[in-house]
Symmetry: C2
Subunit: 189 residues, 2 copies
């Protein structure tokens, strides 16, 4: 005798994301997720292999949202590359502030969350595209990695509260953005 489905995978992932933001990683329990979607914990295992797999799905959903925001900020290909870089950096930083726990999950996995290579590629694509225009084909990947590393590092440290020596953090962000944009565009020394 079939029983009607009382929830969906999408609903479960959404509940996971909400719980992650409101209660951190340790707030993301199977019981809390189950409660939110109106089911008992054992039922979750019909849709998801285990908690780790659910966390991976949450990470992937977060990455794809970040990816979409960066993409939207990238602008057209006729745009000034430095302006595009600035918009993408702001978009990523704003996203990290809106979803700090989700952002942390992305590049700071407990063990190593293997997100899909395709998702990672989609997220990098707009950055690589701007890097091509800025640094040229040959150095585009290096330039994109340098920019992404700086951006991810800056935002992570900001979220972790690691900037505590005084000074204007906002100005430091602008400084880094300016200098990187210049540096990436120059011919190699």
């Amino acid at each position: 005798m079939p029983t009607p489905e009382r929830t969906t995978l999408a609903e479960i992932v959404r509940a996971g994301r909400d719980l992650l933001e409101s209660g951190g990683p340790e707030g993301l329990t199977m019981q809390a997720v189950a409660l939110r979607v109106g089911v008992r914990a054992p039922s979750l295992y019909k849709r998801v292999r285990n908690r780790e797999a659910l966390v991976a799905l949450v990470a992937e959903a977060t990455l794809s949202e970040l990816s979409a925001r960066i993409d939207a900020a990238a602008g057209g290909d006729d745009d000034e590359p430095r302006a595009a870089l600035r918009r993408m950096a702001r978009a990523a930083r704003d996203f990290a502030r809106a979803r700090p726990a989700g952002f942390r999950l992305l590049f700071a996995p407990g063990a190593d969350l293997p997100f899909d290579t395709a998702s990672l590629q989609a997220a990098s694509a707009p950055i690589v595209r701007v890097a091509v225009r800025l640094a040229g084909e040959e150095y585009a990947l290096h330039a994109a990695r340098t920019f992404t590393a700086w951006l991810n590092g800056f935002v992570s440290m900001e979220l972790a509260g690691a900037f505590r020596l005084g000074g204007d953090v906002e100005a430091a962000f602008e400084f880094g953005l300016d200098r990187l944009a210049s540096a990436l565009g120059e011919p190699s020394a």
Copy 2:
């Protein structure tokens, strides 16, 4: 009737660091730590408030070791600043590879591990010192933050396995190092 101490805080923290590296964050359990130092789990609470406090101590010990390595790599004040920057970056990257789980703990805390501001200051000091020589007093802090953000971001992404678009990751590291050193030394645009 006093009982002789069967372990010490230092021993407990060491056990915590070892377990973190061998089994990740979830391998760092109170029971495993207790077993290693030859005591039962409840006894740990004589030296440590709870697991979270122990993790904070592990993070702080890791930060201070990283700090020492960067300091050792900084070299004398008569040295070429770009060479010093390169040595410090290598030292940090080597450290992250030797203690990946510990490194992850530093800037990717579950909630927000509040490490001691003094430790943070000690860790930044050699970088700020080189930044002064490279960028001048006025922009030293901005420059140090830009460099640290890039370094931390690059190493974190490397550890997380986020560089998967092909290309030479080693060369990307050198590229970033070169371009940053140049960019930070230039007068502001």
